[in-house]
Amino acid sequence: MDLGIYISSGVLENYVLGSVSDQERREVECLSSIYPEIKEELIRLQQTMEGFAMANALEPPPGLKASILEAIDGVEQETGREDENKELKVIHRAPEATGRSIPAYWRTAAAASIILLIGAIFLWQSTIGELNNTRTQLSDLTNSKQNLENRIAELESENEESEYLNTLLADNATKRVAMPGTDNSPESFVSVFWNTESEEVFLKVTDLPVPTEDKQYQLWAIVEGQPQDMGVFELDLASESLQAMPYKVKNADAFAITLEPKGGSESPTLSAMYVLGNA
């Protein structure tokens, strides 16, 4: 890929000033995580704008600090969601008694911290009677936690797109890579399921335009900045199942799909890229 052209196109400057479309923004973020040259340029541009802001600095009135510190009093920080790089958990959220929906991870964590709390109390007990009492409480809570975990596991298996998909997702080594559409084809969306242990790659096409007779889609893995051929595939939008790709990959940073002449090409036609996603 010609990075020089990308860098001089002005898209990075616009990203930094906040004037890019959602697509451009995703593209910049994805490419900068793959190519260090782009990331470096981006950082330099951000520093430029930081300098610009510093140069236009205006000391706020002294009362503002106190009113801000007061304003954050009692404001809860929003803690992170599940890490999106971990394998996809096919979980239905259990219906909540209250309005707020809490991720399963946090419920288990909450149960676990109750266990820990009870355990700490346990240490402070002196009489056997109290000790036995606490032991019972502990085992009750452990049971509840176990029940919660069982329920989560139940719900997980209840949601099946296909048995094969479920097995794949249950495998700890599987990474799901979402590939949204590029500017060429913003509606497109494809998911790659990559088993990092067996190095096998599977595709699930959600949306890709039907190609002409003489063309075929080709999947590429980006490894250390270089595209690696992962094979061509036929579009079968009617089928709900996954397609297995003929080649394996060990260390992909990202995946992309381009439209090539039938049979595929040796290297990707970048102007015909339809979807792109970070691993």
Binding site: G18, E50, A55, L64, K65, Q77, G80
Partner: protein, 180 residues
């Protein structure tokens, strides 16, 4: 910068003192940008409060791989200010339409002023077209397409003007980086 990382992790644990340090370090730079956007120090203070509360709330969503904390805070502050400014303009429009005595309404400076970019060094270096584009985008939150429509110039021209403008900004501010 390992100090910043420590500061961030302390803030993530809910430590107010660490948050104070953040305020002391960056409030002036942020206030400057914010005030320019909303054209009023008073409203600027409201925006600052809103922005800092957001920063406190969303600190866990800060991703250091996408850029520095200051840039992240800048973007939150700028976006809050731009939203506020747009709200004010909308309410002004309604006021002008419904109020019979138009005379008494304060002019909130709805026109784009290219000289408000400030700083003597820049006035020479940026062309008027470049200043205009930066003013529209950075201080008024226009997208490239909106600038292209508003000024009647091609999208590619907007892109390259922004690039040239930022290149010039870089020449001026490269020295300031040592002081951050």
């Amino acid at each position: 910068m390992p100090d910043i990382d420590l500061l961030i992790s302390r803030i993530k644990q809910g430590e107010k003192e660490a948050f104070e340090v953040l305020y002391d370090k960056y409030s002036a730079a942020l206030f400057g940008v914010v005030t320019k956007i909303v054209r009023s120090e008073e409203i600027g203070q409201d925006v600052m409060q809103e922005a800092f509360v957001k920063i406190w709330k969303k600190i866990h969503s800060y991703d250091s791989s996408k850029g520095s904390l200051f840039t992240w805070m800048l973007n939150i502050s700028r976006n809050t200010a731009i939203d506020k400014w747009r709200k004010i303009k909308r309410e002004q429009k309604v006021e002008i339409q419904t109020d019979e005595s138009v005379v008494g309404i304060q002019n909130q400076h709805t026109s784009i002023n290219i000289d408000s970019i400030g700083l003597k060094e820049l006035v020479d270096k940026l062309t008027p077209e470049q200043k205009l584009v930066v003013e529209y985008i950075y201080f008024n939150g226009y997208t490239q397409q909106e600038v292209s429509d508003e000024l009647g110039i091609p999208l590619g021209t907007v892109k390259s003007r922004v690039r040239k403008a930022v290149i010039e900004l870089r020449k001026v501010f490269i020295k300031l980086l040592l002081w951050i």
